[in-house]
Amino acid sequence: MRKGSIHYLVIFVVGMYLFLPLAATFLYSISNTWANTILPSDFTLSWYQELFSDQRFILAMGRTLLICILALFVSMITMVMAVFTITVYFPKWERFIQALVMLPYAIPGVVAAVGLIKMYSSKPIVLTGTVWIIVGAYYVLILPYMYQGIRNSLRTIDVKRLIEAAEILGASKWIAFLKVIVPNIIPGILVSSLLSLSILFGEFVLANILVGGHFETIQIYLMKRLKENGHLSSAVVITYFVIVLISSLVMLKLGSRLQNGKTKEKVS
Protein backbone atom coordinates (compact mmCIF):
# COMPACT_ATOMS: atom_id res chain seq x y z
CA MET A 1 0.00 0.00 0.00
CA ARG A 2 2.79 2.41 0.86
CA LYS A 3 4.35 1.72 -2.50
CA GLY A 4 1.15 2.76 -4.28
CA SER A 5 0.86 6.05 -2.46
CA ILE A 6 4.25 7.14 -3.81
CA HIS A 7 2.83 6.94 -7.31
CA TYR A 8 -0.16 9.05 -6.30
CA LEU A 9 2.23 11.62 -4.86
CA VAL A 10 4.35 11.71 -8.03
CA ILE A 11 1.28 12.16 -10.21
CA PHE A 12 -0.09 14.85 -7.94
CA VAL A 13 3.16 16.84 -7.97
CA VAL A 14 3.69 16.59 -11.74
CA GLY A 15 0.00 17.29 -12.35
CA MET A 16 0.14 20.39 -10.17
CA TYR A 17 3.30 21.56 -11.92
CA LEU A 18 1.57 21.30 -15.28
CA PHE A 19 -1.68 22.74 -13.99
CA LEU A 20 -0.31 25.76 -12.13
CA PRO A 21 0.63 28.05 -15.06
CA LEU A 22 -2.75 27.42 -16.68
CA ALA A 23 -4.67 28.04 -13.47
CA ALA A 24 -2.68 31.18 -12.75
CA THR A 25 -3.38 32.55 -16.20
CA PHE A 26 -7.07 31.88 -15.71
CA LEU A 27 -7.15 33.56 -12.28
CA TYR A 28 -5.22 36.50 -13.66
CA SER A 29 -7.78 36.93 -16.44
CA ILE A 30 -10.68 37.20 -13.98
CA SER A 31 -9.04 39.35 -11.33
CA ASN A 32 -8.89 43.10 -10.92
CA THR A 33 -5.54 43.23 -9.22
CA TRP A 34 -3.30 40.47 -8.04
CA ALA A 35 -0.22 41.30 -6.04
CA ASN A 36 1.29 40.12 -2.77
CA THR A 37 -1.42 37.56 -2.06
CA ILE A 38 -1.68 33.86 -2.79
CA LEU A 39 -5.05 34.30 -4.49
CA PRO A 40 -6.37 37.45 -6.12
CA SER A 41 -8.70 39.48 -3.89
CA ASP A 42 -11.47 40.67 -6.20
CA PHE A 43 -12.81 39.12 -9.34
CA THR A 44 -14.21 40.63 -12.51
CA LEU A 45 -15.24 39.65 -16.00
CA SER A 46 -14.46 43.08 -17.38
CA TRP A 47 -11.29 41.91 -19.18
CA TYR A 48 -13.31 39.50 -21.24
CA GLN A 49 -15.87 42.21 -21.86
CA GLU A 50 -13.15 44.56 -23.02
CA LEU A 51 -11.55 41.86 -25.14
CA PHE A 52 -14.70 40.85 -26.96
CA SER A 53 -15.57 44.44 -27.72
CA ASP A 54 -12.08 45.12 -29.07
CA GLN A 55 -12.32 45.40 -32.84
CA ARG A 56 -8.66 44.45 -33.23
CA PHE A 57 -9.14 41.17 -31.36
CA ILE A 58 -12.21 40.23 -33.38
CA LEU A 59 -10.37 40.99 -36.60
CA ALA A 60 -7.30 39.01 -35.56
CA MET A 61 -9.49 36.06 -34.64
CA GLY A 62 -11.26 36.35 -38.00
CA ARG A 63 -7.97 36.44 -39.89
CA THR A 64 -6.64 33.40 -38.05
CA LEU A 65 -9.81 31.47 -38.75
CA LEU A 66 -9.73 32.55 -42.40
CA ILE A 67 -6.20 31.34 -43.12
CA CYS A 68 -6.51 28.17 -41.02
CA ILE A 69 -9.76 27.12 -42.65
CA LEU A 70 -8.51 28.02 -46.12
CA ALA A 71 -5.34 25.95 -45.65
CA LEU A 72 -7.31 23.06 -44.14
CA PHE A 73 -9.92 23.11 -46.88
CA VAL A 74 -7.36 23.05 -49.69
CA SER A 75 -5.38 20.39 -47.83
CA MET A 76 -8.41 18.15 -47.32
CA ILE A 77 -9.45 18.19 -50.96
CA THR A 78 -6.06 17.86 -52.58
CA MET A 79 -4.64 15.40 -50.05
CA VAL A 80 -7.59 13.00 -50.16
CA MET A 81 -7.40 12.83 -53.94
CA ALA A 82 -3.63 12.49 -54.02
CA VAL A 83 -3.24 9.94 -51.21
CA PHE A 84 -6.07 7.86 -52.65
CA THR A 85 -4.53 7.84 -56.13
CA ILE A 86 -1.10 7.00 -54.84
CA THR A 87 -2.20 4.13 -52.60
CA VAL A 88 -4.41 2.61 -55.28
CA TYR A 89 -2.57 3.22 -58.55
CA PHE A 90 1.02 4.06 -57.67
CA PRO A 91 1.93 2.09 -54.53
CA LYS A 92 5.56 2.17 -55.67
CA TRP A 93 5.72 5.92 -55.07
CA GLU A 94 4.44 5.63 -51.56
CA ARG A 95 7.80 5.70 -49.81
CA PHE A 96 8.89 8.74 -51.76
CA ILE A 97 5.66 10.64 -51.09
CA GLN A 98 5.83 9.68 -47.44
CA ALA A 99 9.33 11.13 -47.11
CA LEU A 100 8.10 14.27 -48.84
CA VAL A 101 5.10 14.86 -46.59
CA MET A 102 6.91 13.92 -43.36
CA LEU A 103 9.74 16.37 -44.04
CA PRO A 104 7.85 19.41 -42.66
CA TYR A 105 7.59 17.56 -39.35
CA ALA A 106 11.37 17.67 -39.03
CA ILE A 107 11.84 21.19 -40.36
CA PRO A 108 11.30 23.91 -37.73
CA GLY A 109 9.10 26.85 -38.66
CA VAL A 110 11.96 29.30 -38.69
CA VAL A 111 13.85 27.21 -41.28
CA ALA A 112 10.77 26.86 -43.49
CA ALA A 113 10.29 30.62 -43.28
CA VAL A 114 13.84 31.29 -44.55
CA GLY A 115 13.22 29.33 -47.76
CA LEU A 116 9.83 30.91 -48.38
CA ILE A 117 11.18 34.42 -47.86
CA LYS A 118 14.08 33.69 -50.17
CA MET A 119 11.83 32.51 -53.00
CA TYR A 120 8.86 34.83 -52.71
CA SER A 121 10.07 38.20 -51.52
CA SER A 122 11.61 39.29 -54.81
CA LYS A 123 10.62 39.10 -58.46
CA PRO A 124 9.25 37.28 -60.41
CA ILE A 125 6.74 36.15 -57.76
CA VAL A 126 6.20 38.38 -54.75
CA LEU A 127 4.02 36.78 -52.12
CA THR A 128 5.48 37.89 -48.76
CA GLY A 129 3.04 39.98 -46.79
CA THR A 130 0.06 38.43 -48.58
CA VAL A 131 -2.40 35.84 -47.38
CA TRP A 132 -1.24 33.40 -50.05
CA ILE A 133 2.21 32.77 -48.68
CA ILE A 134 0.90 31.98 -45.21
CA VAL A 135 -1.82 29.70 -46.58
CA GLY A 136 0.85 27.91 -48.63
CA ALA A 137 3.18 27.64 -45.65
CA TYR A 138 0.35 26.30 -43.46
CA TYR A 139 -0.59 23.81 -46.16
CA VAL A 140 2.93 22.38 -45.97
CA LEU A 141 3.03 22.55 -42.17
CA ILE A 142 0.00 20.25 -41.76
CA LEU A 143 1.01 17.79 -44.51
CA PRO A 144 2.33 15.12 -42.06
CA TYR A 145 -0.82 15.10 -39.92
CA MET A 146 -3.25 15.11 -42.83
CA TYR A 147 -1.29 12.39 -44.62
CA GLN A 148 -1.22 10.12 -41.58
CA GLY A 149 -4.95 10.58 -40.96
CA ILE A 150 -6.00 9.91 -44.53
CA ARG A 151 -3.56 7.04 -45.00
CA ASN A 152 -4.72 5.33 -41.82
CA SER A 153 -8.39 5.60 -42.70
CA LEU A 154 -7.75 4.29 -46.20
CA ARG A 155 -6.03 1.31 -44.62
CA THR A 156 -9.16 0.38 -42.67
CA ILE A 157 -11.24 -0.15 -45.83
CA ASP A 158 -10.59 -2.38 -48.80
CA VAL A 159 -10.23 0.41 -51.34
CA LYS A 160 -9.46 -1.72 -54.40
CA ARG A 161 -12.45 -3.99 -53.96
CA LEU A 162 -14.84 -1.14 -53.24
CA ILE A 163 -13.75 0.63 -56.42
CA GLU A 164 -14.02 -2.56 -58.46
CA ALA A 165 -17.49 -3.25 -57.10
CA ALA A 166 -18.64 0.29 -57.88
CA GLU A 167 -17.23 0.06 -61.40
CA ILE A 168 -18.90 -3.27 -62.05
CA LEU A 169 -22.16 -1.62 -61.00
CA GLY A 170 -21.55 1.01 -63.66
CA ALA A 171 -20.05 3.91 -61.73
CA SER A 172 -17.23 5.97 -63.21
CA LYS A 173 -13.94 6.42 -61.29
CA TRP A 174 -14.98 9.87 -60.06
CA ILE A 175 -18.37 8.71 -58.89
CA ALA A 176 -16.86 5.68 -57.18
CA PHE A 177 -14.30 7.88 -55.45
CA LEU A 178 -16.79 10.55 -54.34
CA LYS A 179 -19.71 8.33 -53.34
CA VAL A 180 -17.99 5.23 -52.02
CA ILE A 181 -14.49 6.03 -50.82
CA VAL A 182 -14.90 9.56 -49.43
CA PRO A 183 -17.89 8.84 -47.14
CA ASN A 184 -15.95 5.91 -45.69
CA ILE A 185 -12.92 7.95 -44.68
CA ILE A 186 -14.59 11.21 -43.62
CA PRO A 187 -14.42 10.57 -39.84
CA GLY A 188 -10.67 9.91 -40.04
CA ILE A 189 -10.16 13.05 -42.08
CA LEU A 190 -12.11 15.09 -39.52
CA VAL A 191 -9.89 13.91 -36.68
CA SER A 192 -6.68 14.85 -38.46
CA SER A 193 -8.23 18.16 -39.52
CA LEU A 194 -9.00 19.10 -35.94
CA LEU A 195 -5.47 18.20 -34.90
CA SER A 196 -4.14 20.34 -37.74
CA LEU A 197 -6.44 23.18 -36.74
CA SER A 198 -5.13 23.27 -33.19
CA ILE A 199 -1.55 23.26 -34.51
CA LEU A 200 -2.27 26.11 -36.92
CA PHE A 201 -4.07 28.08 -34.21
CA GLY A 202 -0.94 28.09 -32.08
CA GLU A 203 1.42 28.88 -34.94
CA PHE A 204 3.50 32.03 -34.49
CA VAL A 205 6.88 31.81 -36.24
CA LEU A 206 5.72 31.55 -39.84
CA ALA A 207 3.02 34.17 -39.39
CA ASN A 208 5.42 36.58 -37.69
CA ILE A 209 8.25 36.27 -40.21
CA LEU A 210 6.20 35.92 -43.41
CA VAL A 211 3.34 38.38 -42.93
CA GLY A 212 4.03 39.93 -39.50
CA GLY A 213 3.28 43.62 -39.95
CA HIS A 214 0.65 43.24 -42.65
CA PHE A 215 -1.62 40.59 -41.26
CA GLU A 216 -2.25 40.37 -37.54
CA THR A 217 -3.20 36.83 -36.53
CA ILE A 218 -4.33 35.92 -33.04
CA GLN A 219 -0.82 34.89 -31.95
CA ILE A 220 0.70 38.11 -33.27
CA TYR A 221 -2.04 40.09 -31.56
CA LEU A 222 -1.25 38.30 -28.31
CA MET A 223 2.47 38.98 -28.72
CA LYS A 224 1.82 42.71 -29.24
CA ARG A 225 -0.59 42.97 -26.35
CA LEU A 226 1.67 41.09 -23.95
CA LYS A 227 3.50 44.16 -22.78
CA GLU A 228 0.50 46.46 -22.59
CA ASN A 229 -1.95 44.75 -20.29
CA GLY A 230 -1.35 41.49 -18.47
CA HIS A 231 -4.96 40.87 -17.47
CA LEU A 232 -6.21 41.40 -21.00
CA SER A 233 -3.49 39.16 -22.45
CA SER A 234 -4.40 36.39 -20.05
CA ALA A 235 -8.00 36.69 -21.23
CA VAL A 236 -6.67 36.19 -24.78
CA VAL A 237 -4.65 33.15 -23.69
CA ILE A 238 -7.67 31.57 -21.98
CA THR A 239 -9.95 32.25 -24.95
CA TYR A 240 -7.37 30.74 -27.29
CA PHE A 241 -6.88 27.75 -25.03
CA VAL A 242 -10.61 27.08 -24.69
CA ILE A 243 -10.90 26.97 -28.48
CA VAL A 244 -8.00 24.51 -28.77
CA LEU A 245 -9.44 22.47 -25.91
CA ILE A 246 -12.88 22.20 -27.47
CA SER A 247 -11.42 21.09 -30.78
CA SER A 248 -9.21 18.48 -29.12
CA LEU A 249 -12.11 17.17 -27.03
CA VAL A 250 -14.24 16.82 -30.15
CA MET A 251 -11.27 15.05 -31.73
CA LEU A 252 -10.97 12.63 -28.83
CA LYS A 253 -14.69 11.83 -28.84
CA LEU A 254 -14.66 11.34 -32.57
CA GLY A 255 -11.56 9.20 -32.37
CA SER A 256 -12.93 6.91 -29.68
CA ARG A 257 -16.23 6.57 -31.49
CA LEU A 258 -14.30 5.54 -34.58
CA GLN A 259 -12.44 2.90 -32.64
CA ASN A 260 -15.63 1.62 -31.07
CA GLY A 261 -17.19 1.40 -34.49
CA LYS A 262 -14.22 -0.57 -35.74
CA THR A 263 -14.22 -3.08 -32.90
CA LYS A 264 -17.96 -3.56 -33.30
CA GLU A 265 -17.50 -4.34 -36.96
CA LYS A 266 -14.86 -6.89 -36.11
CA VAL A 267 -17.13 -8.56 -33.56
CA SER A 268 -20.10 -8.88 -35.91
Partner: protein, 280 residues
Protein backbone atom coordinates in the same frame (compact mmCIF):
# COMPACT_ATOMS: atom_id res chain seq x y z
CA UNK B 1 -9.60 2.11 -69.87
CA UNK B 2 -5.91 2.83 -69.49
CA UNK B 3 -6.52 6.36 -70.74
CA UNK B 4 -9.20 6.98 -68.12
CA UNK B 5 -6.97 5.95 -65.22
CA UNK B 6 -4.28 8.33 -66.39
CA UNK B 7 -6.65 11.27 -66.64
CA UNK B 8 -8.05 10.64 -63.22
CA UNK B 9 -4.59 10.27 -61.73
CA UNK B 10 -3.24 13.41 -63.32
CA UNK B 11 -6.19 15.48 -62.17
CA UNK B 12 -6.03 14.02 -58.67
CA UNK B 13 -2.29 14.47 -58.23
CA UNK B 14 -1.77 17.80 -59.95
CA UNK B 15 -3.01 20.25 -57.26
CA UNK B 16 -1.11 18.39 -54.54
CA UNK B 17 2.06 18.29 -56.62
CA UNK B 18 1.87 21.99 -57.52
CA UNK B 19 1.37 23.06 -53.90
CA UNK B 20 4.09 20.83 -52.50
CA UNK B 21 6.57 21.90 -55.17
CA UNK B 22 5.75 25.59 -54.77
CA UNK B 23 5.73 25.80 -50.98
CA UNK B 24 7.99 22.96 -49.85
CA UNK B 25 10.49 21.79 -52.47
CA UNK B 26 11.29 25.02 -54.29
CA UNK B 27 11.82 27.05 -51.06
CA UNK B 28 14.01 24.31 -49.56
CA UNK B 29 16.17 23.99 -52.66
CA UNK B 30 16.29 27.77 -52.97
CA UNK B 31 17.46 28.06 -49.39
CA UNK B 32 20.17 25.42 -49.83
CA UNK B 33 21.47 27.05 -53.03
CA UNK B 34 21.33 30.44 -51.36
CA UNK B 35 23.43 29.23 -48.46
CA UNK B 36 26.28 28.42 -50.85
CA UNK B 37 26.12 31.71 -52.68
CA UNK B 38 28.69 34.44 -52.23
CA UNK B 39 29.17 37.27 -54.72
CA UNK B 40 27.62 35.25 -57.55
CA UNK B 41 29.94 32.31 -56.95
CA UNK B 42 29.45 29.15 -55.00
CA UNK B 43 31.40 28.73 -51.79
CA UNK B 44 31.37 27.38 -48.27
CA UNK B 45 32.12 30.77 -46.80
CA UNK B 46 28.77 31.17 -44.97
CA UNK B 47 29.11 27.78 -43.34
CA UNK B 48 32.63 28.67 -42.29
CA UNK B 49 31.31 31.92 -40.80
CA UNK B 50 28.44 30.16 -39.04
CA UNK B 51 30.80 27.68 -37.41
CA UNK B 52 33.82 29.88 -36.69
CA UNK B 53 32.42 33.36 -35.99
CA UNK B 54 32.40 33.45 -32.17
CA UNK B 55 28.96 35.05 -32.04
CA UNK B 56 27.13 32.51 -34.20
CA UNK B 57 29.15 29.60 -32.89
CA UNK B 58 28.16 30.66 -29.38
CA UNK B 59 24.54 30.73 -30.54
CA UNK B 60 24.79 27.14 -31.76
CA UNK B 61 26.45 26.10 -28.50
CA UNK B 62 23.76 27.87 -26.47
CA UNK B 63 21.03 26.13 -28.45
CA UNK B 64 22.66 22.73 -27.98
CA UNK B 65 23.14 23.35 -24.28
CA UNK B 66 19.63 24.58 -23.59
CA UNK B 67 18.14 21.70 -25.59
CA UNK B 68 20.31 19.20 -23.74
CA UNK B 69 19.41 20.51 -20.27
CA UNK B 70 15.70 20.92 -20.91
CA UNK B 71 15.43 17.49 -22.57
CA UNK B 72 17.37 15.76 -19.78
CA UNK B 73 15.33 17.34 -16.98
CA UNK B 74 12.12 16.82 -18.93
CA UNK B 75 12.79 13.17 -19.69
CA UNK B 76 13.78 12.28 -16.12
CA UNK B 77 10.60 13.83 -14.71
CA UNK B 78 8.48 12.24 -17.44
CA UNK B 79 10.15 8.85 -16.94
CA UNK B 80 9.12 8.79 -13.28
CA UNK B 81 5.71 10.34 -13.92
CA UNK B 82 4.72 8.04 -16.76
CA UNK B 83 5.76 4.99 -14.74
CA UNK B 84 3.57 6.19 -11.89
CA UNK B 85 0.74 6.67 -14.36
CA UNK B 86 1.01 3.03 -15.47
CA UNK B 87 0.59 1.97 -11.83
CA UNK B 88 -2.75 3.80 -11.52
CA UNK B 89 -6.27 2.47 -12.03
CA UNK B 90 -7.37 2.62 -15.67
CA UNK B 91 -9.58 5.65 -15.11
CA UNK B 92 -6.83 7.84 -13.67
CA UNK B 93 -4.51 6.72 -16.46
CA UNK B 94 -6.98 7.99 -19.06
CA UNK B 95 -7.41 11.27 -17.22
CA UNK B 96 -3.66 11.83 -16.92
CA UNK B 97 -3.02 11.05 -20.59
CA UNK B 98 -5.83 13.39 -21.66
CA UNK B 99 -4.39 16.04 -19.35
CA UNK B 100 -0.90 15.60 -20.81
CA UNK B 101 -2.39 15.86 -24.26
CA UNK B 102 -4.11 19.08 -23.28
CA UNK B 103 -1.05 20.69 -21.72
CA UNK B 104 1.13 19.68 -24.66
CA UNK B 105 -0.85 22.31 -26.57
CA UNK B 106 0.24 24.91 -24.05
CA UNK B 107 3.49 26.18 -25.54
CA UNK B 108 4.97 29.11 -27.39
CA UNK B 109 3.70 32.58 -26.58
CA UNK B 110 0.81 31.64 -24.26
CA UNK B 111 3.20 29.54 -22.17
CA UNK B 112 5.86 32.23 -22.00
CA UNK B 113 3.15 34.63 -20.93
CA UNK B 114 1.92 32.35 -18.14
CA UNK B 115 5.48 32.18 -16.81
CA UNK B 116 5.79 35.95 -16.96
CA UNK B 117 2.64 36.24 -14.82
CA UNK B 118 3.98 33.73 -12.32
CA UNK B 119 7.71 34.36 -12.18
CA UNK B 120 8.39 37.52 -14.20
CA UNK B 121 9.88 40.63 -12.60
CA UNK B 122 6.47 41.59 -11.20
CA UNK B 123 5.06 38.07 -11.27
CA UNK B 124 2.69 36.77 -8.64
CA UNK B 125 5.20 34.36 -7.08
CA UNK B 126 8.07 36.80 -7.34
CA UNK B 127 6.18 39.46 -5.40
CA UNK B 128 4.80 36.94 -2.96
CA UNK B 129 8.19 35.50 -2.15
CA UNK B 130 9.56 39.01 -1.56
CA UNK B 131 6.67 39.70 0.78
CA UNK B 132 7.26 36.52 2.71
CA UNK B 133 11.01 37.00 2.72
CA UNK B 134 11.83 33.79 0.88
CA UNK B 135 15.17 33.72 -0.82
CA UNK B 136 14.67 30.82 -3.19
CA UNK B 137 13.05 32.92 -5.88
CA UNK B 138 15.11 36.06 -5.45
CA UNK B 139 18.06 34.43 -7.17
CA UNK B 140 15.88 33.19 -10.02
CA UNK B 141 15.59 35.36 -13.09
CA UNK B 142 13.00 34.30 -15.67
CA UNK B 143 14.76 36.29 -18.39
CA UNK B 144 18.07 34.51 -17.88
CA UNK B 145 19.24 31.12 -19.15
CA UNK B 146 17.86 29.22 -16.19
CA UNK B 147 14.51 30.91 -16.80
CA UNK B 148 14.51 29.79 -20.41
CA UNK B 149 15.36 26.21 -19.39
CA UNK B 150 12.50 26.29 -16.83
CA UNK B 151 9.98 27.28 -19.51
CA UNK B 152 11.36 24.75 -22.02
CA UNK B 153 11.09 21.97 -19.42
CA UNK B 154 7.40 22.73 -19.11
CA UNK B 155 6.63 21.98 -22.73
CA UNK B 156 8.94 18.94 -22.79
CA UNK B 157 7.22 17.07 -19.95
CA UNK B 158 3.76 16.42 -21.43
CA UNK B 159 5.29 15.45 -24.77
CA UNK B 160 7.72 13.06 -23.07
CA UNK B 161 4.95 11.51 -20.98
CA UNK B 162 2.85 10.90 -24.09
CA UNK B 163 5.78 9.21 -25.82
CA UNK B 164 7.15 7.19 -22.88
CA UNK B 165 3.86 5.94 -21.47
CA UNK B 166 3.33 3.32 -24.22
CA UNK B 167 6.90 1.94 -23.93
CA UNK B 168 6.23 0.67 -20.40
CA UNK B 169 3.69 -1.76 -21.82
CA UNK B 170 6.72 -3.70 -23.10
CA UNK B 171 7.54 -4.76 -19.53
CA UNK B 172 5.30 -7.62 -18.57
CA UNK B 173 4.15 -8.10 -15.04
CA UNK B 174 5.15 -11.75 -15.03
CA UNK B 175 8.78 -10.73 -15.63
CA UNK B 176 8.82 -8.76 -12.41
CA UNK B 177 7.30 -11.64 -10.53
CA UNK B 178 9.74 -14.17 -11.90
CA UNK B 179 12.67 -11.85 -11.23
CA UNK B 180 11.45 -11.38 -7.66
CA UNK B 181 11.02 -15.15 -7.25
CA UNK B 182 14.59 -15.67 -8.40
CA UNK B 183 15.68 -13.23 -5.72
CA UNK B 184 16.27 -10.03 -7.70
CA UNK B 185 15.78 -6.73 -5.90
CA UNK B 186 13.62 -4.10 -7.64
CA UNK B 187 16.80 -2.18 -8.43
CA UNK B 188 18.37 -5.25 -10.01
CA UNK B 189 15.21 -5.87 -11.99
CA UNK B 190 15.22 -2.36 -13.42
CA UNK B 191 18.93 -2.37 -14.15
CA UNK B 192 19.06 -5.75 -15.89
CA UNK B 193 15.61 -6.08 -17.43
CA UNK B 194 13.40 -2.99 -17.20
CA UNK B 195 15.83 -0.38 -18.43
CA UNK B 196 17.16 -2.38 -21.39
CA UNK B 197 13.57 -2.93 -22.56
CA UNK B 198 12.58 0.72 -22.48
CA UNK B 199 16.00 2.03 -23.50
CA UNK B 200 15.37 2.41 -27.26
CA UNK B 201 12.10 4.22 -26.54
CA UNK B 202 13.89 6.42 -24.06
CA UNK B 203 16.63 7.38 -26.51
CA UNK B 204 14.12 7.96 -29.29
CA UNK B 205 11.99 10.20 -27.08
CA UNK B 206 15.09 12.08 -26.02
CA UNK B 207 16.00 12.82 -29.63
CA UNK B 208 12.49 14.15 -30.30
CA UNK B 209 12.63 16.37 -27.21
CA UNK B 210 16.04 17.59 -28.22
CA UNK B 211 14.86 18.47 -31.72
CA UNK B 212 11.76 20.08 -30.27
CA UNK B 213 13.87 22.41 -28.12
CA UNK B 214 16.40 23.12 -30.89
CA UNK B 215 13.69 24.42 -33.20
CA UNK B 216 11.64 26.36 -30.62
CA UNK B 217 11.41 30.03 -31.47
CA UNK B 218 8.20 31.53 -30.13
CA UNK B 219 8.83 30.84 -26.42
CA UNK B 220 12.19 32.59 -26.32
CA UNK B 221 10.97 35.35 -28.60
CA UNK B 222 8.03 36.09 -26.31
CA UNK B 223 10.24 36.17 -23.21
CA UNK B 224 12.95 38.57 -24.31
CA UNK B 225 12.40 39.38 -27.96
CA UNK B 226 15.54 39.00 -30.06
CA UNK B 227 18.13 39.20 -27.32
CA UNK B 228 18.78 35.52 -26.58
CA UNK B 229 21.61 34.21 -28.67
CA UNK B 230 20.09 30.92 -29.82
CA UNK B 231 20.02 29.59 -33.37
CA UNK B 232 16.31 30.01 -34.24
CA UNK B 233 16.28 33.60 -32.97
CA UNK B 234 19.50 34.39 -34.89
CA UNK B 235 18.05 32.94 -38.09
CA UNK B 236 14.88 34.98 -37.65
CA UNK B 237 16.89 38.16 -37.11
CA UNK B 238 19.13 37.50 -40.13
CA UNK B 239 16.31 37.05 -42.61
CA UNK B 240 13.57 39.36 -41.41
CA UNK B 241 14.06 42.98 -42.20
CA UNK B 242 17.02 44.06 -40.03
CA UNK B 243 19.03 46.88 -41.53
CA UNK B 244 22.20 44.80 -41.72
CA UNK B 245 20.55 41.50 -42.57
CA UNK B 246 22.63 38.78 -44.16
CA UNK B 247 20.21 36.43 -45.90
CA UNK B 248 22.93 34.02 -47.10
CA UNK B 249 24.27 33.47 -43.62
CA UNK B 250 20.68 33.05 -42.41
CA UNK B 251 20.19 30.32 -45.04
CA UNK B 252 23.40 28.57 -43.97
CA UNK B 253 22.37 28.58 -40.31
CA UNK B 254 18.90 27.36 -41.30
CA UNK B 255 20.41 24.47 -43.27
CA UNK B 256 22.60 23.54 -40.27
CA UNK B 257 19.58 23.61 -37.94
CA UNK B 258 17.46 21.68 -40.44
CA UNK B 259 20.10 18.96 -40.75
CA UNK B 260 20.35 18.63 -36.97
CA UNK B 261 16.58 18.21 -36.74
CA UNK B 262 16.39 15.67 -39.56
CA UNK B 263 19.24 13.78 -37.90
CA UNK B 264 17.36 13.67 -34.60
CA UNK B 265 14.14 12.50 -36.27
CA UNK B 266 15.99 9.83 -38.23
CA UNK B 267 17.60 8.59 -35.04
CA UNK B 268 14.20 8.46 -33.31
CA UNK B 269 12.72 6.52 -36.22
CA UNK B 270 15.49 3.89 -35.99
CA UNK B 271 15.08 3.56 -32.23
CA UNK B 272 11.29 3.30 -32.50
CA UNK B 273 11.62 0.57 -35.09
CA UNK B 274 13.60 -1.35 -32.49
CA UNK B 275 10.95 -0.73 -29.84
CA UNK B 276 8.22 -2.02 -32.11
CA UNK B 277 10.28 -5.09 -32.95
CA UNK B 278 10.85 -5.77 -29.25
CA UNK B 279 7.18 -5.33 -28.44
CA UNK B 280 6.12 -7.97 -30.92
Amino acid sequence: MKQKITWFSVLALLPFAVLVIAFEIVPLIGMILDSFQSDNAYSWVHYVTALTNPYYFKGILNSLQISLYSSLIGIVIALVASYSITQMPKKIQTIMITFSNMTSNFSGIPLAFAYIILLGSSGVFTLLSKELGWNILSSFDLYSWSGLVAVYVYFQIPLAILMLYPTYSGIQKSWRESAALLGASPLQFWWHIGLPVIFPGLVGTFSILFANAMGAYATAFALVGGSYNIVPIRIGALVSGDAISQPHLGSALAVILGLMMIGAMWFNERMMRRVRRDLQ
